[in-house]
Amino acid sequence: MEAVLTAIGMVASADVLLAMIGAALFGLFVGAVPGLTATMATALLVPITFFLPPVPAVAAMVTATAMAIFAGDIPGCLVRIPGTPASAAYVDESYAMTRKGQAETALGVALVFSVIGGLFGTTVLIFAAPALAEFALQFSSFEYFWLVLLGLTCAVFITGDAPIRGLVTLFLGLLVGAVGLENPAAHPRFTFGNADLLGGVSLIPAMIALFAVSEILRFSLSPVHIDEFKSQVGAVFRGMGGMIRKYRWQTLRGSALGTAVGALPGAGADIAAWMAYATSRKTSKESEKFGTGHPEGLVEAGAANNSALSAAWIPALVFGIPGDSITAIVIGVLYMKDMNPGPTIFINSPENIYAVFAVFILANLLMLPLGWACIKAATRILRAPRNVLMPIILMFCIVGAFAINNSPFDLWILIGFGLLGWFLEAHRFPIAPAILGMLLGKMLEENFITSMIKSEGNLMGFVERPIAAALAVFALLLWALSGWFALKRRMARG
C-alpha cells in the first residue's frame, strides 16, 4: 500500500504530468498524420526520454502510444487512409459512415471505445502482471528458454499467413543479435576487427532505422496523396451512452480478445484489430450491414487495438519479452533507465511498477478531452505538409540515433538498417520477428547454454521440470498447429 502511495506521488508531480501532456500532443499528431505510425512515435521519443528520469520517460512513451493508436482512426474515418497500421482493419467501415454523414458518430465511437479498451487492458495488466511475476520467480533457465522460444514462435506464426517470410526475418534478427563479445566464450563474433561492434549492434539506432527511416524511404518513392475533403464534425459524444449499452458484449469481447492478442509476444494492436473486426462480423446479428457504415465492428476493433497496447506490457514487464514492436523499444529504454524488466522488479522497486500502472490509467483518461480536441483540429492536422515534415523527421532520427551513444558508428547502423527495413517491407517480409530476434537473441543463447551446461548436454533436462515441460508442450503444439494450418491452406489452394 505504501508503494502505491509513493507511486501516486511520483506520477502526480509536475514534470511527469508535463511530460505526459507533451507526449500526448505528440502522439495525437503522429497518429493522425498518415505515414507516421505509433511505433515510429515511440522510436522518435527514445532520444528525448533518454534524458528524462525513469518515471516521466515511461509516462511519455505510454501516453504517446495510446494517443497515437486512437488518433490513427481519424484520417481513416475522414479520408480513408489509416493513420497507423492498427486502424487499417476498419478504415472502409468508418469511411462509409463519413459518407453517410455520420463522421462524428464514427469518431466518437473510435474515441470512447479506445478509452474503454485501454482501461480494460490496463486493469488486466494491473492484476495479471504481479501475479505472473510471483509465479515467474521460480523460473530457471529451462523455463526462460522455452518462454523465449514460445515468444519467437508466436511472433512468426501469429502475425501473418506467410510463416516462411516471418522465419526468414526472425533468423536474420537472431543472427544480428549474435554480433559482439557477449557470448559464453567472450569471443568477438562477426565484428571483423571493428571495435564499435564489440558491444553488438546498437538496438535503439537499429529500431529507429527500421521503424522511422524505412518509412521515410518509402514515402520518398510513393507519397500518399490526401484528396481535398470537407467534413463538418458535430457533437462527438452524442449517442455514445446508447452505443455502450447496445454493444456491451461486443465491447467486452473486443477488449478481451485484444488483451489476449496483445499479451502474446510479437502480435500487437494491428493484429488484434483485424481479428476483432472479423469476429464481430462473423457473429453479428446484422452482419449484412458490415461494410456499409455500421458501428458494431468499429466498437469491437477499436476497443481491441487499445487493450492490446496495454496488455503487451504484461510479458514485457514480467519476463522482458516484448508483446509487440512498441514494447520492444520500451524494453530497450527500461534497460537504459536501470529498470531492468523481470519478476524481481516487482519486489525490488514495486513503486516503479505501480507508477507505470497509474500512468496507464491517467493516459487513457486524458485521451477523452485531448482526443476530442484532436478530432476538432483534425482538418488542420491532415493538411500538415508531409513533404516538409519528413525531412525534419529524418534529421531528428539522425541526431537521435547519435545521441544515444554519441557514436558516429551508430549512424552507419541507422542507414544500413533503414535500407534493410525498407527492402524487407517492399518485399512483404514482416519486421516484428526481426526486432524480437535482435532483442531476445542474447536471452535465448544465454538460457540455452546455461541449461545445456546444467543438464550436461542431456536434452531431456529441458523438460524435467513441470513448468518447463508444459511450456515445451505448448511450443510443440504451436508448431504442429501452424504446420497443419499451412498444409490445409495449400490443400485448399491446390
Binding site: 532520444p47 567472450a186 562477426f190 516538409v388 525531412p391 525534419i392 547454454i449 548436454g457
Partner: protein
C-alpha cells in the same frame, strides 16, 4: 524494383553458409563443449533451411526474377537524395559541422520532395537551429561544430 523470392533466398543461403563456414573456427572453451559457435551455428542452419524453402516458393510462383516498375523520375531522385543525404551527413559532419551539414541535407530533401522553392531555405535553417538548440544546448549532445568552430555559441 522487385526481386523474386528465389533471388532473395539464394542471397540468404549464401549468407548462412558463409556464417557456418566462418564460425567453425571459433575457439572452444576448454573442458566445455558449448562455446561461442553453437548459437550462430543453430541460427544460420535455420536460416539456410528457410532460405531453401524461400527459393522453392519463388521458383514455383512463376514471377519474374527481376521486375522493374517504371517509377516517375522525380520519385527516384527523391529516394536517391534521401539515401545520399544521409551518407553525406555521416561522411562530412565532422569536417563541416552539424549546422552546415544539416542545413544542406534538409535543403536537398525539401527540394527533392517538391516543397515550394521560397520555403526551402527558411525551413532548412529554422529546423536546423531548433534541432541544434534542443539537442546541443538542452540535452548536451556533442554535435560537432566543424567549420563554425570559431563562432561556436
Amino acid at each position: 524494383m522487385r526481386l523474386n523470392d528465389a533471388v532473395i533466398g539464394a542471397v540468404l543461403l549464401v549468407l548462412s553458409l558463409a556464417v557456418l563456414w566462418h564460425v567453425k573456427d571459433f575457439p572452444a572453451i576448454p573442458g566445455q563443449p558449448y562455446g561461442a559457435a553453437l548459437y550462430p551455428t543453430v541460427v544460420s542452419a535455420g536460416l539456410a533451411v528457410t532460405s531453401i524453402l524461400l527459393i522453392v516458393q519463388g521458383l514455383r510462383s512463376g514471377e519474374p526474377m527481376f521486375s522493374v516498375q517504371v517509377a516517375q523520375g522525380g520519385r527516384l531522385i527523391a529516394f536517391g537524395v534521401t539515401v545520399g543525404s544521409m551518407l553525406f551527413y555521416v561522411l562530412f559532419v565532422d569536417q563541416l559541422g552539424f549546422i552546415v551539414c544539416a542545413t544542406l541535407m534538409l535543403a536537398a530533401l525539401l527540394w527533392s520532395y517538391g516543397v515550394k522553392r521560397s520555403l526551402i531555405a527558411p525551413v532548412a535553417i529554422a529546423a536546423t537551429l531548433v534541432i541544434h538548440t534542443g539537442f546541443f544546448k538542452v540535452l548536451k549532445v556533442p554535435l560537432p561544430w566543424g567549420l563554425l568552430e570559431s563562432i561556436a555559441w
